[in-house]
Subunit: 348 residues, 2 copies
DNA sequence: CGCTAGCACTCGAGGCGCATGAGTGCTAAT
DNA sequence: ATTAGCACTCATGCGCCTCGAGTGCTAGCG
């Protein structure tokens, strides 16, 4: 563990703050003048030399100012940072942005992502919960044409999921309706994660009991649950904001990053890392993530929930140099707000 | 109408071809040497001077080669261009890309968009058809909680659309089921575009006939159809490919364009322009579109259909300087392929 | 009369040198 | 321990120059 005197911390804090603001290496004079330290620039220089030795700062070249290293940034985030409290006005703005709210779940998440991106001027991201955490509400089979069946699954919270499947034999709509009724009863209120087991269990019973009348229904459901559920998905919005960061004027660098976004599984893994941790805002700096091509970005994230169950994670992705002191409160507030919106008004 | 000698056309064609390939202004020598014209560079120079006078070419600065103007490009596209025939191999590749096909409609369109972007190394775009062209198949109301109802609408082709609405009074699921049954019968096989009228008509009847039993169902449906349907949507994929074009290394320019993409209604309008024209590949050059911020891009598009009905438009968006001779066949082929995939295998 | 060879001219791109100044590290004095 | 002072470093920007790709024009050729 690193031990710093309070002056060291002040200096490190000042360097990070200034660097975040300007994007330029910070010199000793600037700090002595602008950050209310009661010492001369020469002293600052000595301190900075120490910090450099500790690996918290670095010099792009000999005659330039200092820039925080990733380690220095991490230390700043862990120990020194002071948040800008969110103004009532800003809170109101975010709240208002949520106002024109559809009741559609996916829309809500996408909008959240957009709000994050707009308020932080970076890319906003929302991890869409695995379906498995929600409870079964309703299932419906619809015969689209011969041997093609559309299945619609609705969760208790109003999430709609649909897949169409090809089935070997043609099944009439009447028959399918029977299946629906049967399954709706069978699966009532079961968490979607447990449906598979429930079905298996039932299949064993059925085989013996009433002559496989519904075994086809069970098999069908089984097959559907096999694939399409399970996997999480994400919404990334406002990637264009990343273009505004001077660090990404280099097109090649930017492209590498956006290409990494293309492959969403990477980002999902990144977000998953923060999902395990029970709560609060988390920050992952690219280099810590061990994910190639993501080394130049940072993620500020917070889980959101409905009542007691963790649903997913939302956050902001930007360059390592971003205004953490402002974005962190925004992310936190947004997560709270979203959780609040998801709270069932009346549960019955 | 412009009249050109065949040599003029050859020269113009060569300039455009070379410019498209290299992105650099083209000099007279290059053309004389590389494009099999049997005349000297001096002659070419004279021809080019003529073409410039006609507004088909222009010079970035006095001592540079020529670059086609938008007018020149248009002329080239209308009269001179020769398509590279799509190799059987390429066809096979595109076909294969479609292979791993979900039966989900939206997925299919999104994938199409991605395929276009990948094969043309530009942004792919697919206009998602207005729901109104398809026919009614099934409707279902589900009570999510008190006073919140989820409506699911399924079209004959397996398209799923859902919205949730807040209703003033609480309605029991049993009651809602009645509505569903009633409406399913009432609206059977009606084009979604005509549902509104059908409902209005029915409302008039109902009011008199059986005591407004279903008037609530009608009103509900009415309200839903009011909003959420009707509007088209698009999938744009592979915007990152645009970064590869040297004309977009200038970040500001790129940002303007991507911001224009953000506001999808603009692009929709652009695509709509080509939807009216009954068929075949169409090309719109940015400056012709009268849409601000889109002046630096070109669109190559083709409608796709199911059987006889036009469903939507797909295409490729890129800089004005792109490889039309290759992209046009790709777009055409893809549109055909998609139409083919959408063809109902067995209609019943 | 159309084509071409030749030539003078234009002008952007890129390389070089130099001055500038922000910033450093070190040393000696307080 | 802090600071003033100084010599040193090096990226940046500017002016200058050269180079060469490309042009337009003119005169001569078939």
């Amino acid at each position: 563990m690193i031990e710093l005197t309070s002056r060291d911390e002040e200096v490190l804090g000042a360097v990070v703050t200034d660097y975040i603001k300007t994007g330029e290496p910070v010199g000793s004079r600037t700090i002595a003048k602008r950050y209310g330290l009661k010492v001369s620039s020469a002293t600052i220089r000595n301190v900075m030399a120490d910090l450099e030795e500790m690996g918290l700062l670095q010099q792009p070249h000999t005659s330039a100012g200092r820039v925080p290293t990733e380690k220095g940034l991490r230390f700043y985030l862990d120990s020194i940072i002071q948040f800008k409290k969110l103004q009532g006005q800003e809170r109101a703005m975010i709240r208002r942005a949520f106002q024109e709210t559809t009741t559609d779940f996916k829309d809500l998440l996408r909008r959240t992502s957009r709000i994050l991106s707009r308020f932080c001027q970076q890319a906003g991201v929302v991890l869409w919960p695995k379906l498995t955490v929600t409870r079964f509400k309703h299932i419906e089979f619809i015969r689209i044409r011969a041997r093609q069946i559309l299945m619609i699954l609705i969760s208790k919270s109003g999430l709609v999921h649909h897949t169409s499947i090809d089935w070997e034999e043609d099944i009439s709509q009447d028959e399918l309706d029977k299946y629906s009724r049967y399954l709706n009863e069978l699966l009532e209120d079961i968490p979607l994660g447990e449906v598979k087991e429930r079905i298996l269990e039932e299949m064993r019973k059925e085989k013996v009991l009433f002559d496989q009348l519904y075994s086809r229904a069970l098999e069908m459901t089984q097959r559907i649950f096999q694939y399409s559920l399970g996997d999480a998905d994400i919404y990334i919005e406002g990637q264009i904001n990343l273009l505004k960061n001077p660090e990404f004027t280099d097109v090649d660098r930017l492209r590498r990053i956006l290409e990494a976004f293309e492959d969403k599984s990477r980002i999902i893994r990144l977000l998953d890392m923060t999902l395990t941790a029970s709560s609060g805002v988390q920050i992952i700096l690219g280099p810590e993530s061990d994910l190639a091509d993501l080394s130049e970005i940072g993620l500020i994230s917070s889980p959101y929930r409905r009542g007691d169950t963790l649903l997913g994670v939302l956050g902001v992705i930007g360059p390592l140099r971003m205004d953490y002191s402002r974005i962190i409160p925004v992310v936190e507030f947004t997560a709270d707000l979203l959780s609040e919106l998801l709270e069932d008004p009346v549960e019955d």
